[in-house]
Symmetry: D2
Subunit: 146 residues, 4 copies
């Protein structure tokens, strides 16, 4: 298992007239969490693209439990439970500063070749890195939030 | 059943560097479809709010099949299959100009009182209107897209 | 002079917690107006890109006079006063349903070659079309708004 | 003078199909810089709102010099040159990791009463704090970027 955490501040632009974060903006927060997870693993999503590998989304699910408000400092917890093959499912949980679960969901990405524009297996260097990290205690346990 | 359709043009701001509509922006398109469905039913979501009824999202699911591109004129098909009670599930399908299904999904909204900030039953005038429309042939059949 | 008008509905996603359209979203509305102006001229911005011509923004100015609210149907008036050379200044005015000027501004675009990544003169077919339209009465007068 | 700096990472959602940060998204970055400047001054914009003071934008100007790209770590430099009265002009400069100026601009905010919905003078505690900070060397000099 890989678990990483990213802090996201809620700005004016993220809120709507209900005074809370717009429901559609969480997909953006989920992606920030995924991008920073890959960075913490030691490389970047940008590098994947340089290998001509894209990771478009195949599905998205979000269950909303509570609202997030302007100026909240949210914690985005990004969780990978299995080594990806062609599909790459990633779970996300968002917590507010009181440690309450705001929403949780799952995005399923797919490895795509930017050359053939078709699904491909995850690149070997990516899988090797994942395997290495799955054995690294630092990433195996969810950091205690509060 | 209620089925309505809304056209949405893809602008620069909706695309990302992959050259396609950003995966998180479809939640916005889904909401435009829902808003215009309510307008076609003869009132507006804004009026619901004047009745102190809010409709926050409880869940969102999207399955992505194809990409949408800059300047595409998309058709958002919004589908209500049952009269809502406290929860209000709404299906959405997005088609491109060739009639291909780009993605489909479901948003579950919940009726909330803006006064008590708690779930409430759907307002009577809303249910009555829905019942009337469920018997209206115009809304019962999905318009032929292509 | 070329004057065209585009209608834009304000959706939830465009508002912020102040209950009005977020100040930064008007740049998106301005672009929608410009894109539709080019379409009304008889071609599309997408076609310009197929000619390997890009139109990045060099500057943006907006003066805000009034707020726009959820569900407002705004009129975006897009105005070209001179035939462009390398720079392409476009004025924009946004009106609400009462005919009040919400804000006005100017975006200066520049013609860029997608091949050399350097400024270029506006393509001849674009200038010719502009000249033709500058002599077309339909586009010369601002439509009466109200 | 008050000068503060905020780091902003460019994510997928900020880019458009030209592969760069969408021109309209810089207004969002400018606001993040302003919000964090106020936080560094020792209070929050949210607290201003609790005093029933709003700060809507009256004007925005941006001059674009270079593009920002996916995964860039930008530096937003926020600059206040004078103690505000009813209007509150704030300059912003955005730099990339090479220290190049990407764009610069100015937003003029106005102090508004949330009660009367009319312009008001800046609250005394805000001015006092500003005066204190204008005499604080830490804020007087622009941090050396590179």
């Amino acid at each position: 298992m890989i678990v990483t955490e990213t802090k996201i501040r809620v700005y004016y632009q993220d809120t709507d007239k209900m005074g809370v974060v717009y429901y559609g903006n969480y997909a953006r927060y989920y992606e920030i969490g995924r991008t920073e997870m890959i960075r913490e693993m030691g490389f970047t999503y940008k590098q994947l693209e340089e290998y001509k590998v894209l990771l478009p989304a195949r599905s998205l699910k979000i269950n909303y439990f509570k609202s997030a408000y302007y100026d909240d400092l949210l914690t985005v917890r990004t969780i990978v439970e299995t080594i990806p093959k062609v599909k790459f499912p990633i779970k996300t949980e968002i917590y507010n500063e009181k440690g309450e679960l705001i929403n949780s969901g799952e995005t399923v990405l797919a490895f795509y070749s930017a050359i053939t524009n078709k699904p491909v297996a995850a690149p070997k260097f990516f899988i090797d890195e994942m395997l290495r990290i799955f054995q690294n205690e630092q990433f195996q346990t969810a950091p205690k939030l509060f």
